[in-house]
Symmetry: C2
Subunit: 343 residues, 2 copies
Amino acid sequence: MTRTSGYVPTTPPTLADVAELAGVSRQTVSNAVNNPDLLRADTLSRVLEAIDELGYSPNRAARNLRTRASHLIGLRFAPAQEGTANATMDRFVHSLVETSSAAGYHVLLFPGDLEDPTAGYDALLRSTAVDAFVATDTYLGNPQAAWLEARRAPFVAFGRPWDNPDAAHPWVDVDGAAGAEIATTHLLEKGHERIAWLGWHKDQVIGEDRRAGWTRAMRSRGLSTTGLASRSEDTVNSGREASAHLLEEARPTGFVCASDTLAVGVMHTLAERGLVAGRDVAVVGFDDSQVAQTVPPGLTSVRQPLEDVAVEIVRALEGLLGHPPVRRGGVLLEPELVVRGTT
Amino acid sequence: MTRTSGYVPTTPPTLADVAELAGVSRQTVSNAVNNPDLLRADTLSRVLEAIDELGYSPNRAARNLRTRASHLIGLRFAPAQEGTANATMDRFVHSLVETSSAAGYHVLLFPGDLEDPTAGYDALLRSTAVDAFVATDTYLGNPQAAWLEARRAPFVAFGRPWDNPDAAHPWVDVDGAAGAEIATTHLLEKGHERIAWLGWHKDQVIGEDRRAGWTRAMRSRGLSTTGLASRSEDTVNSGREASAHLLEEARPTGFVCASDTLAVGVMHTLAERGLVAGRDVAVVGFDDSQVAQTVPPGLTSVRQPLEDVAVEIVRALEGLLGHPPVRRGGVLLEPELVVRGTT
DNA sequence: TTGAAAGCGCTAACAA
DNA sequence: TTGTTAGCGCTTTCAA
């Protein structure tokens, strides 16, 4: 166990080593691993014993070369924005790693070039380094999905093809409108009537979708939304400024926000004015970030079922990569509300 | 070389396709890609032209098989704890993906079995699926490092080998004691004298290390630390309770915490008592999480230079995997303090 | 039920 | 400077 010398690569045992030890042909060992049913019981156990004794595990590169499959799923991993509460991607990656591992796949991360979202995909695709991709951030104007479709690359999108309802690729998404509606209804049931919406700029389809949920909930109670909505950048400071403005102009008693980041901005405004979130003004965020979970007194937030998203994505991936390939349609999942101190 | 024609998506071009188009041998194409210096200028340009025309990219599996290298780095990816502010791992992964990509490596994620930290490593190692590992969470009692050393697996640790100063593997770590000392000194310079420490249980070496920085700073000013320290679990609620207790027993005017999670716990206590963080009591966290960055009025926190950690780790990795291998020693990096509203 | 032969696409070693 | 040969470790024929 003590080591003094440097790293000496020891070659792992191969199929041939196992075959020799078990006294069978290499092919029989391969069958023992991949088609155990084909072997006679005693041959199988003899081979398995040899495998165990040598600690044999099939060489991935050789298997990949032969089967033209890597059992790797590529995921573009763009850094979380500093200064925001947004970390949906990180939580999703965890779920994806767990789920895909159970299905025999590993996740390969590659960096996202902010200028060219399709960079990185191409190299991995052409070198057959991955079997498929999981594409995130497939919002309007992002060319990833269309590019991948054109290349006939197997992929599943986390996010609806907003700009192309006829897109042929499988996708999984969370119903943001339903989430905002649940959040708004929650406040309505608490007796609030002047509920403000804090969202993103109009060109953000996801933000507009969530906003529609707020509108729907308000309208269903016959409540006006006039003057109660605001659109801004997804930063704490924008949320702070927008909520300060709304508070003066429209006197809302509750805020439903498109993100936890904006919701924290509201909490800044409240703190600055000596108001207490949850007592004086209600606040609901979106994404159930660590910030929502820990900030006093706890931020009520809409939580996306990312574990389920990962499960559906892997399911679609398995269909895509199966023999024969099975193409699944889109899957829309429902978020839930996590109630905390701010409401 | 016959290529299947028809409606089926084309298989990517191979070395042989390029060779035929350029009118050279396969080996020459290989050299054009890997040792361009060996070719005559006109031959090279002709081959590169053919490569470009066909969109050729070397097949990874074949190259991996032949060179016995995957250019993949394995990283065990354990989920961030819900309800805490801890997300150092996520930020680190981003940096690692960026940095290793620049060095020609991709990051392969595999799930962490909480019960057996070494599970997952073994399978990847034996199947030569990765060239090396980056091992995190190498705290005392975690068998990963020793296990990997015993297997002679190439790896670099993010974290010092606390329990084995003679460990032969390269490691990169951040000086936690220095971080806590900077934080404490910051409060001392603001005029605080009764500065409390909120840390983890004694068996957490990292926590004890950070605590030593607080002690050092206090002692250097001749200040007593008696009754000013507390040890608890790394949860918001533990931080809340511990700080409430300290506030009553020891009347500190400032808190230095082993994590942002505990620091947020302090902020809960302050809010509950109508105290204002930064005005009535100072609070410093550790890790510069998104929570620290966004919670009102902004939590002063010690930030680990994870980008630099990734750079050093990849550098060590390149040494380990080079020909000949170069073993680097440990690297200890300095954190910095990000000052915000709570101080 | 088992074995032999072929070859996936690439590069190291050597020959021309 | 370029080409030829061999073989990385595996699985897919197909034959025994």
